[in-house]
Protein backbone atom coordinates (compact mmCIF):
# COMPACT_ATOMS: atom_id res chain seq x y z
CA UNK A 1 0.00 0.00 0.00
CA UNK A 2 1.15 3.56 -0.67
CA UNK A 3 1.81 5.79 2.25
CA UNK A 4 0.28 9.24 2.17
CA UNK A 5 0.77 11.91 4.79
CA UNK A 6 -1.33 15.03 4.99
CA UNK A 7 -0.08 17.74 7.26
CA UNK A 8 -2.65 20.39 8.07
CA UNK A 9 -1.75 23.70 9.70
CA UNK A 10 0.73 22.01 12.00
CA UNK A 11 1.97 24.02 14.96
CA UNK A 12 4.38 22.86 17.60
CA UNK A 13 6.29 24.30 20.51
CA UNK A 14 8.47 22.73 23.21
CA UNK A 15 8.06 25.66 25.55
CA UNK A 16 5.27 28.17 25.90
CA UNK A 17 7.16 31.19 24.69
CA UNK A 18 8.83 29.78 21.58
CA UNK A 19 6.90 28.31 18.69
CA UNK A 20 9.10 25.95 16.64
CA UNK A 21 6.70 25.00 13.83
CA UNK A 22 4.43 27.81 12.75
CA UNK A 23 1.74 26.32 10.58
CA UNK A 24 2.92 23.71 8.10
CA UNK A 25 0.71 22.47 5.26
CA UNK A 26 2.10 19.67 3.15
CA UNK A 27 0.91 16.58 1.37
CA UNK A 28 3.58 13.92 1.07
CA UNK A 29 3.08 10.98 -1.22
CA UNK A 30 4.89 9.00 -3.87
CA UNK A 31 7.74 11.38 -4.53
CA UNK A 32 10.90 10.90 -2.57
CA UNK A 33 11.21 14.11 -0.62
CA UNK A 34 14.25 15.86 0.82
CA UNK A 35 13.68 18.19 3.75
CA UNK A 36 16.38 20.82 3.82
CA UNK A 37 16.97 23.82 6.01
CA UNK A 38 19.42 25.51 8.32
CA UNK A 39 20.21 23.95 11.71
CA UNK A 40 17.42 24.75 14.13
CA UNK A 41 14.83 25.22 11.37
CA UNK A 42 12.66 22.52 12.94
CA UNK A 43 13.31 19.57 10.62
CA UNK A 44 13.96 16.97 13.31
CA UNK A 45 11.02 18.28 15.31
CA UNK A 46 8.84 17.88 12.22
CA UNK A 47 9.77 14.26 11.60
CA UNK A 48 9.38 13.42 15.29
CA UNK A 49 5.81 14.68 14.97
CA UNK A 50 5.33 12.41 11.96
CA UNK A 51 6.49 9.50 14.13
CA UNK A 52 4.15 10.39 16.97
CA UNK A 53 7.11 10.97 19.28
CA UNK A 54 5.80 14.49 19.81
CA UNK A 55 2.21 15.72 19.77
CA UNK A 56 1.21 18.80 17.73
CA UNK A 57 0.22 21.86 19.72
CA UNK A 58 -2.44 22.41 17.07
CA UNK A 59 -3.23 21.18 13.59
CA UNK A 60 -3.07 17.58 12.55
CA UNK A 61 -1.25 14.90 10.65
CA UNK A 62 -3.34 12.40 8.73
CA UNK A 63 -1.82 9.12 7.61
CA UNK A 64 -3.84 7.31 4.90
CA UNK A 65 -7.03 8.80 6.28
CA UNK A 66 -6.27 8.19 9.99
CA UNK A 67 -5.39 11.00 12.37
CA UNK A 68 -1.99 10.14 13.85
CA UNK A 69 -3.04 11.39 17.26
CA UNK A 70 -5.41 8.41 17.49
CA UNK A 71 -2.50 5.96 17.12
CA UNK A 72 0.18 4.96 19.63
CA UNK A 73 3.87 5.32 18.79
CA UNK A 74 4.11 1.54 18.53
CA UNK A 75 1.19 1.40 16.08
CA UNK A 76 2.67 4.19 13.99
CA UNK A 77 5.98 2.31 13.90
CA UNK A 78 4.36 -0.39 11.77
CA UNK A 79 3.66 2.11 9.00
CA UNK A 80 6.23 4.84 9.40
CA UNK A 81 9.86 3.92 10.02
CA UNK A 82 12.61 6.33 10.96
CA UNK A 83 16.35 5.89 10.85
CA UNK A 84 17.92 8.06 13.53
CA UNK A 85 20.93 10.19 12.83
CA UNK A 86 23.26 8.35 15.16
CA UNK A 87 23.20 4.54 14.76
CA UNK A 88 24.63 4.18 18.29
CA UNK A 89 21.31 5.38 19.69
CA UNK A 90 19.57 2.43 18.17
CA UNK A 91 21.84 -0.58 18.17
CA UNK A 92 21.84 -2.81 21.26
CA UNK A 93 21.86 -6.47 20.24
CA UNK A 94 24.99 -8.59 20.11
CA UNK A 95 24.64 -9.70 16.53
CA UNK A 96 23.65 -7.89 13.41
CA UNK A 97 20.86 -10.33 12.58
CA UNK A 98 19.28 -10.05 16.05
CA UNK A 99 19.46 -6.30 15.82
CA UNK A 100 17.74 -6.22 12.45
CA UNK A 101 15.10 -8.77 13.55
CA UNK A 102 14.18 -6.78 16.68
CA UNK A 103 11.94 -4.22 14.95
CA UNK A 104 10.00 -6.68 12.77
CA UNK A 105 9.26 -8.86 15.79
CA UNK A 106 8.13 -5.81 17.78
CA UNK A 107 5.56 -4.98 15.13
CA UNK A 108 4.14 -8.47 15.18
CA UNK A 109 6.03 -10.52 12.60
CA UNK A 110 6.75 -14.15 13.43
CA UNK A 111 10.35 -15.16 13.95
CA UNK A 112 10.55 -16.80 10.52
CA UNK A 113 8.98 -13.82 8.81
CA UNK A 114 11.27 -11.46 10.67
CA UNK A 115 14.29 -13.48 9.62
CA UNK A 116 13.30 -13.37 5.95
CA UNK A 117 12.67 -9.64 6.09
CA UNK A 118 15.91 -9.07 8.00
CA UNK A 119 18.00 -10.97 5.46
CA UNK A 120 16.33 -9.11 2.59
CA UNK A 121 17.02 -5.80 4.26
CA UNK A 122 20.65 -6.72 4.97
CA UNK A 123 21.05 -7.70 1.37
CA UNK A 124 19.68 -4.37 0.23
CA UNK A 125 22.32 -2.53 2.26
CA UNK A 126 24.99 -5.03 1.23
CA UNK A 127 25.64 -6.37 4.73
CA UNK A 128 24.21 -9.87 4.43
CA UNK A 129 27.65 -11.42 4.95
CA UNK A 130 28.05 -9.65 8.29
CA UNK A 131 24.87 -11.01 9.85
CA UNK A 132 26.64 -12.91 12.65
CA UNK A 133 29.03 -10.10 13.55
CA UNK A 134 28.66 -7.99 16.70
CA UNK A 135 27.53 -4.53 15.52
CA UNK A 136 30.02 -2.87 17.88
CA UNK A 137 32.86 -4.49 15.93
CA UNK A 138 31.76 -2.62 12.81
CA UNK A 139 32.77 0.88 11.82
CA UNK A 140 30.37 3.81 12.08
CA UNK A 141 29.48 3.77 8.41
CA UNK A 142 28.63 0.06 8.49
CA UNK A 143 26.67 0.50 11.70
CA UNK A 144 24.65 3.16 9.92
CA UNK A 145 23.79 0.63 7.23
CA UNK A 146 22.74 -1.83 9.94
CA UNK A 147 20.48 0.75 11.51
CA UNK A 148 18.93 1.39 8.09
CA UNK A 149 18.41 -2.34 7.53
CA UNK A 150 16.78 -2.58 10.96
CA UNK A 151 14.09 -0.16 9.81
CA UNK A 152 13.74 -1.54 6.27
CA UNK A 153 13.13 -5.01 7.73
CA UNK A 154 10.01 -3.69 9.45
CA UNK A 155 8.63 -3.07 5.96
CA UNK A 156 6.98 0.30 6.69
CA UNK A 157 5.23 2.24 3.92
CA UNK A 158 6.94 5.47 4.91
CA UNK A 159 10.66 5.65 5.65
CA UNK A 160 12.26 8.70 7.18
CA UNK A 161 16.01 9.27 7.32
CA UNK A 162 17.52 11.92 9.58
CA UNK A 163 20.75 13.09 7.96
CA UNK A 164 21.77 9.69 6.57
CA UNK A 165 24.93 10.81 4.77
CA UNK A 166 26.69 12.40 7.73
CA UNK A 167 30.06 10.72 8.37
CA UNK A 168 29.66 8.56 5.28
CA UNK A 169 32.43 8.16 2.73
CA UNK A 170 31.75 8.16 -0.98
CA UNK A 171 30.86 4.46 -1.08
CA UNK A 172 28.51 4.81 1.87
CA UNK A 173 26.77 7.79 0.30
CA UNK A 174 26.41 5.97 -2.97
CA UNK A 175 24.91 2.98 -1.19
CA UNK A 176 22.42 5.16 0.71
CA UNK A 177 21.49 6.95 -2.51
CA UNK A 178 20.77 3.62 -4.14
CA UNK A 179 18.67 2.56 -1.17
CA UNK A 180 16.62 5.75 -1.43
CA UNK A 181 15.95 5.16 -5.12
CA UNK A 182 15.25 1.49 -4.64
CA UNK A 183 12.68 2.21 -1.93
CA UNK A 184 11.04 4.83 -4.09
CA UNK A 185 10.79 2.35 -6.95
CA UNK A 186 9.18 -0.12 -4.57
CA UNK A 187 6.47 2.47 -4.02
CA UNK A 188 7.59 3.58 -0.54
CA UNK A 189 7.35 7.16 0.56
CA UNK A 190 10.90 8.26 1.37
CA UNK A 191 11.53 11.40 3.44
CA UNK A 192 15.04 12.54 4.22
CA UNK A 193 16.42 15.35 6.29
CA UNK A 194 19.66 16.28 4.62
CA UNK A 195 22.33 18.97 4.28
CA UNK A 196 24.08 17.54 1.26
CA UNK A 197 22.59 19.42 -1.68
CA UNK A 198 24.43 17.35 -4.27
CA UNK A 199 22.80 14.28 -2.77
CA UNK A 200 19.37 15.90 -3.01
CA UNK A 201 19.97 16.90 -6.63
CA UNK A 202 21.04 13.38 -7.48
CA UNK A 203 18.44 11.25 -5.74
CA UNK A 204 15.23 13.11 -4.89
CA UNK A 205 12.02 14.00 -6.71
CA UNK A 206 11.06 16.82 -4.42
CA UNK A 207 12.75 19.26 -2.08
CA UNK A 208 11.03 21.08 0.76
CA UNK A 209 12.92 23.97 2.33
CA UNK A 210 12.21 24.66 5.99
CA UNK A 211 13.07 28.01 7.46
CA UNK A 212 12.09 29.50 10.81
CA UNK A 213 9.38 26.92 11.41
CA UNK A 214 7.66 27.19 8.03
CA UNK A 215 7.97 25.91 4.48
CA UNK A 216 9.91 28.41 2.41
CA UNK A 217 10.14 26.54 -0.89
CA UNK A 218 8.57 23.34 -2.16
CA UNK A 219 8.91 21.65 -5.51
CA UNK A 220 11.17 19.55 -7.67
CA UNK A 221 14.88 20.08 -7.02
CA UNK A 222 15.32 21.94 -10.28
CA UNK A 223 12.73 24.50 -9.31
CA UNK A 224 13.91 24.80 -5.70
CA UNK A 225 17.60 25.05 -6.52
CA UNK A 226 17.03 27.68 -9.21
CA UNK A 227 15.99 30.13 -6.48
CA UNK A 228 19.48 31.12 -5.44
CA UNK A 229 18.48 34.34 -3.64
CA UNK A 230 15.78 32.69 -1.53
CA UNK A 231 18.09 29.82 -0.66
CA UNK A 232 20.77 32.23 0.38
CA UNK A 233 18.36 33.97 2.72
CA UNK A 234 17.69 30.60 4.33
CA UNK A 235 21.48 30.12 4.61
CA UNK A 236 21.45 27.25 2.12
CA UNK A 237 23.56 26.76 -0.94
CA UNK A 238 22.89 25.29 -4.34
CA UNK A 239 24.45 22.01 -5.47
CA UNK A 240 28.03 22.45 -6.64
CA UNK A 241 27.27 21.90 -10.32
CA UNK A 242 24.39 24.38 -10.17
CA UNK A 243 26.63 27.02 -8.66
CA UNK A 244 29.43 26.36 -11.11
CA UNK A 245 27.18 26.57 -14.15
CA UNK A 246 25.53 29.66 -12.79
CA UNK A 247 28.93 31.26 -12.30
CA UNK A 248 29.88 30.28 -15.84
CA UNK A 249 26.86 32.22 -17.04
CA UNK A 250 24.47 29.46 -18.10
CA UNK A 251 20.80 30.39 -17.94
CA UNK A 252 19.57 26.83 -17.29
CA UNK A 253 19.70 25.17 -13.90
CA UNK A 254 21.88 22.07 -13.93
CA UNK A 255 21.62 19.82 -10.92
CA UNK A 256 24.19 17.12 -11.56
CA UNK A 257 27.32 16.58 -13.58
CA UNK A 258 25.41 14.18 -15.80
CA UNK A 259 22.79 16.83 -16.60
CA UNK A 260 25.46 19.24 -17.69
CA UNK A 261 27.47 16.69 -19.66
CA UNK A 262 24.36 15.62 -21.53
CA UNK A 263 23.53 19.22 -22.30
CA UNK A 264 27.01 19.86 -23.62
CA UNK A 265 26.93 16.72 -25.77
CA UNK A 266 23.59 17.74 -27.22
CA UNK A 267 24.91 21.12 -28.31
Amino acid sequence: MMGRLEIRDLHFSYTENEEILKGIDLVLDQQSTAIIGQNGAGKTTFVKLLKGLLQPTSGKIVYNGTDLSSMTVAQIAKHIGMVFQNPNDQIFKNSVIDEVMFGPMQVGMSKEEAKVHAMDALEMVGMEKKCKVNPYDLGLSERKLISIAAILAMDPEVIIFDEPTIAQDYAGKKCIGEIVEHLRNQGKLVLTIIHDMDFVAEHFDRAVVFAKGGVLLDGNPEKVFSRAEILEKAFLEQPNVTRLCHALGYEETFLTTDDFVEYKKGQ
Partner: protein
Protein backbone atom coordinates in the same frame (compact mmCIF):
# COMPACT_ATOMS: atom_id res chain seq x y z
CA UNK B 1 20.85 21.37 26.20
CA UNK B 2 18.73 21.31 29.28
CA UNK B 3 20.68 22.18 32.38
CA UNK B 4 20.36 20.35 35.65
CA UNK B 5 22.04 23.20 37.43
CA UNK B 6 19.43 24.99 39.51
CA UNK B 7 21.21 28.25 38.91
CA UNK B 8 19.60 30.72 36.56
CA UNK B 9 21.05 34.07 35.53
CA UNK B 10 18.52 36.68 36.63
CA UNK B 11 20.87 39.63 36.88
CA UNK B 12 19.89 40.00 40.52
CA UNK B 13 21.88 41.50 43.37
CA UNK B 14 22.72 38.05 44.67
CA UNK B 15 23.87 36.92 41.22
CA UNK B 16 26.49 39.65 41.30
CA UNK B 17 27.63 38.90 44.82
CA UNK B 18 30.85 36.90 45.13
CA UNK B 19 30.26 33.16 45.44
CA UNK B 20 32.36 33.07 48.64
CA UNK B 21 29.95 35.49 50.23
CA UNK B 22 26.95 33.30 49.51
CA UNK B 23 28.73 30.20 50.74
CA UNK B 24 29.48 32.02 53.96
CA UNK B 25 25.81 33.03 54.20
CA UNK B 26 24.77 29.40 53.90
CA UNK B 27 27.14 28.35 56.66
CA UNK B 28 26.11 31.22 58.92
CA UNK B 29 22.39 30.70 58.31
CA UNK B 30 22.74 27.10 59.42
CA UNK B 31 25.15 27.71 62.32
CA UNK B 32 23.66 30.78 63.97
CA UNK B 33 20.20 29.34 64.86
CA UNK B 34 21.81 26.02 65.83
CA UNK B 35 24.15 27.84 68.23
CA UNK B 36 21.48 30.10 69.65
CA UNK B 37 19.19 27.10 70.01
CA UNK B 38 15.97 29.08 69.87
CA UNK B 39 13.03 28.51 67.50
CA UNK B 40 12.63 32.25 66.94
CA UNK B 41 16.20 32.48 65.66
CA UNK B 42 15.27 29.82 63.12
CA UNK B 43 12.16 31.72 62.13
CA UNK B 44 14.12 34.95 61.74
CA UNK B 45 16.73 33.34 59.48
CA UNK B 46 14.02 31.59 57.45
CA UNK B 47 12.36 34.96 56.86
CA UNK B 48 15.71 36.44 55.84
CA UNK B 49 16.36 33.58 53.39
CA UNK B 50 12.88 33.89 51.91
CA UNK B 51 13.45 37.62 51.52
CA UNK B 52 16.80 37.02 49.75
CA UNK B 53 15.24 34.41 47.46
CA UNK B 54 12.36 36.75 46.67
CA UNK B 55 14.57 39.70 45.69
CA UNK B 56 16.61 37.30 43.53
CA UNK B 57 13.39 36.26 41.75
CA UNK B 58 13.95 32.58 42.47
CA UNK B 59 11.43 32.04 45.27
CA UNK B 60 9.18 30.00 42.99
CA UNK B 61 11.98 27.54 42.34
CA UNK B 62 11.94 26.52 45.99
CA UNK B 63 8.40 25.15 45.65
CA UNK B 64 9.41 21.68 44.41
CA UNK B 65 12.19 21.43 47.01
CA UNK B 66 9.91 22.50 49.84
CA UNK B 67 6.95 20.42 48.79
CA UNK B 68 8.96 17.20 48.55
CA UNK B 69 10.58 17.78 51.93
CA UNK B 70 7.23 19.05 53.23
CA UNK B 71 5.72 15.61 52.69
CA UNK B 72 8.52 13.98 54.66
CA UNK B 73 8.16 16.56 57.41
CA UNK B 74 4.42 16.01 57.51
CA UNK B 75 4.88 12.31 58.23
CA UNK B 76 7.33 13.23 61.00
CA UNK B 77 4.80 15.66 62.49
CA UNK B 78 2.06 13.03 62.41
CA UNK B 79 4.16 10.25 63.88
CA UNK B 80 5.82 12.39 66.56
CA UNK B 81 2.55 14.20 67.33
CA UNK B 82 0.77 10.93 67.97
CA UNK B 83 3.37 8.52 69.28
CA UNK B 84 6.35 10.40 70.76
CA UNK B 85 7.43 9.03 74.13
CA UNK B 86 6.52 11.59 76.78
CA UNK B 87 3.37 12.79 75.00
CA UNK B 88 0.87 13.79 77.68
CA UNK B 89 -1.12 16.90 76.70
CA UNK B 90 -3.70 16.29 73.98
CA UNK B 91 -4.23 19.36 71.81
CA UNK B 92 -6.16 17.88 68.92
CA UNK B 93 -8.48 14.90 68.68
CA UNK B 94 -9.32 13.70 65.18
CA UNK B 95 -11.59 10.66 65.56
CA UNK B 96 -9.43 7.94 67.07
CA UNK B 97 -6.20 9.90 66.45
CA UNK B 98 -4.93 12.13 69.25
CA UNK B 99 -2.19 14.69 68.72
CA UNK B 100 -0.02 15.69 71.68
CA UNK B 101 1.56 19.05 72.38
CA UNK B 102 5.01 17.68 73.27
CA UNK B 103 5.39 15.65 70.11
CA UNK B 104 4.06 18.46 67.93
CA UNK B 105 6.49 20.99 69.42
CA UNK B 106 9.36 18.56 68.99
CA UNK B 107 8.51 17.97 65.32
CA UNK B 108 8.00 21.71 64.81
CA UNK B 109 11.61 22.14 65.90
CA UNK B 110 12.73 19.57 63.35
CA UNK B 111 10.61 21.18 60.63
CA UNK B 112 12.04 24.65 61.31
CA UNK B 113 15.58 23.30 61.22
CA UNK B 114 15.04 21.40 58.00
CA UNK B 115 13.36 24.30 56.23
CA UNK B 116 16.02 26.70 57.45
CA UNK B 117 18.82 24.50 56.14
CA UNK B 118 17.06 23.90 52.82
CA UNK B 119 16.33 27.57 52.26
CA UNK B 120 19.89 28.55 53.15
CA UNK B 121 21.19 26.04 50.61
CA UNK B 122 18.67 27.34 48.06
CA UNK B 123 19.96 30.88 48.51
CA UNK B 124 23.41 29.64 47.53
CA UNK B 125 22.65 27.26 44.68
CA UNK B 126 19.82 29.18 43.01
CA UNK B 127 21.90 32.30 42.71
CA UNK B 128 25.41 30.97 42.12
CA UNK B 129 26.88 29.38 39.04
CA UNK B 130 28.34 25.98 40.04
CA UNK B 131 31.51 26.71 38.11
CA UNK B 132 31.98 29.99 40.05
CA UNK B 133 31.78 28.08 43.29
CA UNK B 134 34.26 25.48 42.13
CA UNK B 135 36.67 28.09 40.77
CA UNK B 136 36.50 29.79 44.11
CA UNK B 137 37.48 26.54 45.84
CA UNK B 138 40.26 25.86 43.34
CA UNK B 139 41.67 29.34 43.89
CA UNK B 140 41.83 28.50 47.58
CA UNK B 141 43.89 25.40 46.79
CA UNK B 142 41.22 22.77 46.21
CA UNK B 143 42.26 20.10 43.68
CA UNK B 144 41.35 21.06 40.12
CA UNK B 145 40.70 17.40 39.33
CA UNK B 146 38.05 17.09 42.00
CA UNK B 147 36.73 20.45 40.92
CA UNK B 148 36.42 19.18 37.39
CA UNK B 149 34.61 16.05 38.53
CA UNK B 150 32.15 18.21 40.40
CA UNK B 151 31.49 20.57 37.50
CA UNK B 152 31.30 17.78 34.97
CA UNK B 153 28.41 16.22 36.88
CA UNK B 154 26.43 19.26 35.82
CA UNK B 155 27.33 18.59 32.20
CA UNK B 156 27.31 14.82 32.02
CA UNK B 157 23.97 14.15 33.67
CA UNK B 158 21.96 16.36 31.29
CA UNK B 159 23.90 14.88 28.41
CA UNK B 160 23.06 11.36 29.56
CA UNK B 161 19.44 12.34 30.01
CA UNK B 162 19.38 13.68 26.49
CA UNK B 163 21.00 10.52 25.12
CA UNK B 164 18.49 8.49 27.10
CA UNK B 165 15.63 10.44 25.51
CA UNK B 166 16.99 9.99 22.00
CA UNK B 167 17.52 6.29 22.60
CA UNK B 168 14.04 5.89 24.03
CA UNK B 169 12.67 7.59 20.93
CA UNK B 170 14.77 5.39 18.66
CA UNK B 171 13.46 2.21 20.30
CA UNK B 172 9.86 3.39 20.44
CA UNK B 173 10.24 4.11 16.76
CA UNK B 174 10.93 0.46 16.27
CA UNK B 175 7.65 -0.48 17.83
CA UNK B 176 8.82 -1.00 21.41
CA UNK B 177 6.32 -0.18 24.14
CA UNK B 178 8.06 1.85 26.82
CA UNK B 179 4.95 2.92 28.65
CA UNK B 180 2.52 0.85 30.62
CA UNK B 181 2.80 -1.79 33.32
CA UNK B 182 5.94 -2.39 35.36
CA UNK B 183 6.68 -5.53 33.35
CA UNK B 184 6.49 -3.59 30.09
CA UNK B 185 8.86 -0.99 31.50
CA UNK B 186 11.35 -3.55 32.73
CA UNK B 187 11.29 -5.31 29.38
CA UNK B 188 11.93 -1.99 27.71
CA UNK B 189 14.87 -1.23 29.98
CA UNK B 190 17.54 -3.43 28.41
CA UNK B 191 17.35 -2.11 24.86
CA UNK B 192 17.54 1.38 26.33
CA UNK B 193 20.33 0.97 28.80
CA UNK B 194 23.04 -0.66 26.71
CA UNK B 195 23.26 2.09 24.08
CA UNK B 196 23.28 4.67 26.87
CA UNK B 197 26.21 3.00 28.60
CA UNK B 198 28.08 2.52 25.35
CA UNK B 199 27.71 6.11 24.27
CA UNK B 200 28.64 7.40 27.73
CA UNK B 201 31.84 5.38 27.61
CA UNK B 202 32.69 6.80 24.20
CA UNK B 203 31.88 10.32 25.43
CA UNK B 204 34.06 9.90 28.49
CA UNK B 205 37.03 8.81 26.44
CA UNK B 206 36.65 11.76 24.12
CA UNK B 207 36.28 14.17 26.99
CA UNK B 208 39.48 12.86 28.56
CA UNK B 209 41.39 13.33 25.33
CA UNK B 210 39.96 16.81 24.84
CA UNK B 211 41.07 17.78 28.35
CA UNK B 212 44.52 16.32 27.95
CA UNK B 213 45.27 18.10 24.68
CA UNK B 214 44.44 21.33 26.44
CA UNK B 215 46.96 20.68 29.17
CA UNK B 216 44.67 19.69 32.02
CA UNK B 217 47.49 17.79 33.70
CA UNK B 218 50.16 20.40 33.04
CA UNK B 219 52.26 21.06 36.16
CA UNK B 220 52.67 24.79 35.68
CA UNK B 221 50.70 27.24 37.76
CA UNK B 222 47.44 28.00 36.02
CA UNK B 223 45.68 31.31 35.66
CA UNK B 224 41.94 31.84 35.76
CA UNK B 225 39.88 32.90 32.79
CA UNK B 226 37.35 34.67 35.00
CA UNK B 227 39.02 37.00 37.47
CA UNK B 228 37.15 36.97 40.75
CA UNK B 229 36.16 40.41 41.87
CA UNK B 230 35.66 40.73 45.60
CA UNK B 231 34.06 44.13 46.09
CA UNK B 232 33.89 46.20 49.26
CA UNK B 233 30.24 45.20 49.63
CA UNK B 234 31.29 41.54 49.52
CA UNK B 235 33.89 42.18 52.21
CA UNK B 236 31.44 44.02 54.45
CA UNK B 237 28.86 41.26 54.13
CA UNK B 238 31.51 38.66 54.88
CA UNK B 239 32.52 40.56 58.00
CA UNK B 240 28.91 40.89 59.17
CA UNK B 241 28.31 37.18 58.67
CA UNK B 242 31.46 36.23 60.54
CA UNK B 243 30.49 38.64 63.32
CA UNK B 244 27.04 37.00 63.54
CA UNK B 245 28.58 33.54 63.84
CA UNK B 246 31.07 34.73 66.50
CA UNK B 247 28.33 36.50 68.43
CA UNK B 248 26.22 33.37 68.55
CA UNK B 249 29.24 31.31 69.62
CA UNK B 250 29.75 33.84 72.41
CA UNK B 251 26.07 33.54 73.34
CA UNK B 252 26.33 29.77 73.51
CA UNK B 253 29.47 29.93 75.64
CA UNK B 254 27.78 32.42 77.96
CA UNK B 255 24.80 30.07 78.32
CA UNK B 256 27.12 27.23 79.26
CA UNK B 257 29.07 29.28 81.76
CA UNK B 258 25.96 30.99 83.16
Amino acid sequence: MKSISLYEEKNSTLNHLDSGCKMLYMVAAILVPALIGNKWANVAVIILSVFLLAISKVLRKTVPVLSVSGIVILTIVIIQGMFRAGNTTVVLQLGPAAFYKEGLLYSLGIALNVFNILLAICVLIFTTKPSDMVENFIEKGFSPRLGYVFISIFQIIPQMMETMNTITDAQRSRGMETEGSLLVRIKAFLPLISPVVMSSLVDTKERAIALEVRGFNAKTKKTFLNERKVTTTDKIINLLLIAAVLASVAWRVKLWLG
